[in-house]
Each structure stands twice: as structure tokens, then as C-alpha cells.
């Protein structure tokens, strides 16, 4: 199916607002901020209507603008936290492993049911998953969502969020260890 390559701002809200709202909420779990971002995106899009070349669908075009706005929020949320948060983050991580790198007995991964992937549990599990994601420090969440939800190339994430390559991998690792632990704690 060819994408609809026309643009019609009179139908934007009708056609795209709910999609864009859900898109934003899955990345920024703040309803008020999500609403604002959707609105800002429409207004920003109006400013550059002439830049729409019809190469992609209207929705893809609007989503690209929205995505940039979301990255701006990530950047704002994590700036200033990077230096002050570092110490705490390292400390949080040490709780999971002993000095020699072994799992601490009380933090070892245990079976908690996701391994069997029961679709009946999906909705409830997703809610816990989202709650656990929101507990991650802002920068970690930004890196994590850009990689895992948006499939952005690593170098793009590093440039946009101003993290080094080695920091990127440290964050990816810490985010997952924390997230997994949170799921285990809240799901069983």
C-alpha cells in the first residue's frame, strides 16, 4: 500500500492525535507533558508545512517532528543529572553484585514466569514493565527507549544525548540489570 502523501491539517487531530499521544506516552510517562508535546508538534508542523515533500506519509512526517521533541525532553531531563547522579548510579549497581563480580545472593535472577510467556498476563505485565522503566534514571531511560523501542543506531543516540560510546554500554547494562530486578520484585 502506498503511503498517503497528501497533507491536510484540518484532519490532523482526528487522524493522528491519539496515535501520537500513545507514541509519546510509551516514551515519556507523563500525561500532561505528552499532551503538550502532541500540541507543540502540530504547531511546529504548521510552521513548516512548505517543507513537507510528500516523500513519506503525513503521519511519518509528524512523528519525526514529535520524535525530535521527545529527544529534547530526554536531554533536558538528563542534563545536570549526569554528573551528580553518577555516584549514586554506581552505588545502585554495586548492590546487585559482590565485589568480585558474583551475583549477590539476594539479587540473583530467579524464574519469574516471563520465560514461559503467557499472553494472558501480558497486559498486567506490561503495566509493571512500564512502571519499572519509569524508575530508571532519566538518562538511562532515554538511552534505553531510543535503543529498544526506536531501534536508533548507537552513534545517533550517543550524539543526541551526548554520551560516550563506553558510557552508552555501561548505561545499557545497568538499565537492564535494574529493570530486570524491578520486574522480578514486582511480578512474583
Amino acid at each position: 500500500m502506498l503511503p498517503d502523501q497528501t497533507i491536510n491539517p484540518h484532519q490532523w487531530v482526528n487522524n493522528h492525535a491519539d496515535y501520537m499521544y500513545a507514541y509519546t506516552l510509551s516514551r515519556i510517562n507523563d500525561e500532561e507533558q505528552a499532551r503538550d508535546l502532541v500540541q507543540e508538534t502540530f504547531l511546529a508542523a504548521l510552521e513548516r508545512l512548505d517543507k513537507f515533500e510528500g516523500k513519506s506519509s503525513e503521519r511519518t512526517w509528524l512523528t519525526a517532528i514529535l520524535k525530535n521533541k521527545i529527544v529534547d525532553v530526554y536531554r533536558k531531563r538528563s542534563s545536570g543529572l549526569i554528573s551528580t547522579g553518577e555516584h549514586k548510579e554506581v552505588h545502585e549497581m554495586q548492590e546487585f553484585f559482590e565485589e568480585d563480580g558474583h551475583w549477590r545472593e539476594d539479587h540473583q535472577p530467579r524464574h519469574f514466569g516471563v520465560e514461559d510467556h503467557n499472553p494472558l498476563h501480558d497486559k498486567e505485565f506490561n503495566q509493571i514493565l512500564q512502571k519499572c522503566m519509569q524508575k530508571l534514571p532519566a538518562l538511562w531511560l532515554a538511552v534505553f527507549t531510543m535503543k529498544h523501542i526506536d531501534d536508533e543506531p548507537t552513534n545517533v543516540i550517543c550524539t543526541q544525548l551526548k554520551v560516550t560510546d563506553s558510557n552508552f554500554w555501561v548505561i545499557i547494562h545497568r538499565a537492564k540489570v535494574n529493570l530486570r530486578a524491578c520486574l522480578q520484585k514486582n511480578w512474583i
Binding site: W12, L43, L46, Q108, I172
Partner: protein
Amino acid sequence: MSRLRNIIYNCREATYLIEKRLIGKITLREKIQLHIHFYGCSVCKLFNKQSRIINTMVKQLLINKGQPDLKLDDDFKNDMQHRIEDELNKK
């Protein structure tokens, strides 16, 4: 490269490599060390399995429909469309 030599006995390093392998590349040497680690460590093997599933579920978060609460209310939508019309009229 003491980090590499430590992988076999170090779960922190092993889980780091698990994550790196899932979305990026690790060296052949690292792959072998990780496999030796798995051989002796069922806990990290479980971590590996759970980590993959978590990635899949995170990706599905958006695709997962059936969340009626994820909709904007009509008043807000009407206001928004009015603002858009106002802007269009200015042009």
C-alpha cells in the same frame, strides 16, 4: 585486558557482555568466554533468557493496543484543532 580474563568468573562482566551482544557486537574471544561462563553459571544463563524476553516485550509496548486510557479527551482535541485552524487562518 584484565576485563576479558575475568569474564569466566565474573557475573557483572558476563551480564555486560550479554547486553552488548544483544544489540551490538562482541569479539569472538568474548563470545567464547561468555559461553564458558554460561557453562558454569545457570544464573547468568537465566539472566540472558529473561533479558531477551524483556527486549521483546519492551518493543511490543507500543504495538500493544487495547489500552483505551491511552486516548486524548475530546475537549482537548477540539481545542487543539481550533488552534490549528486559527494558525491556518493567519497564513
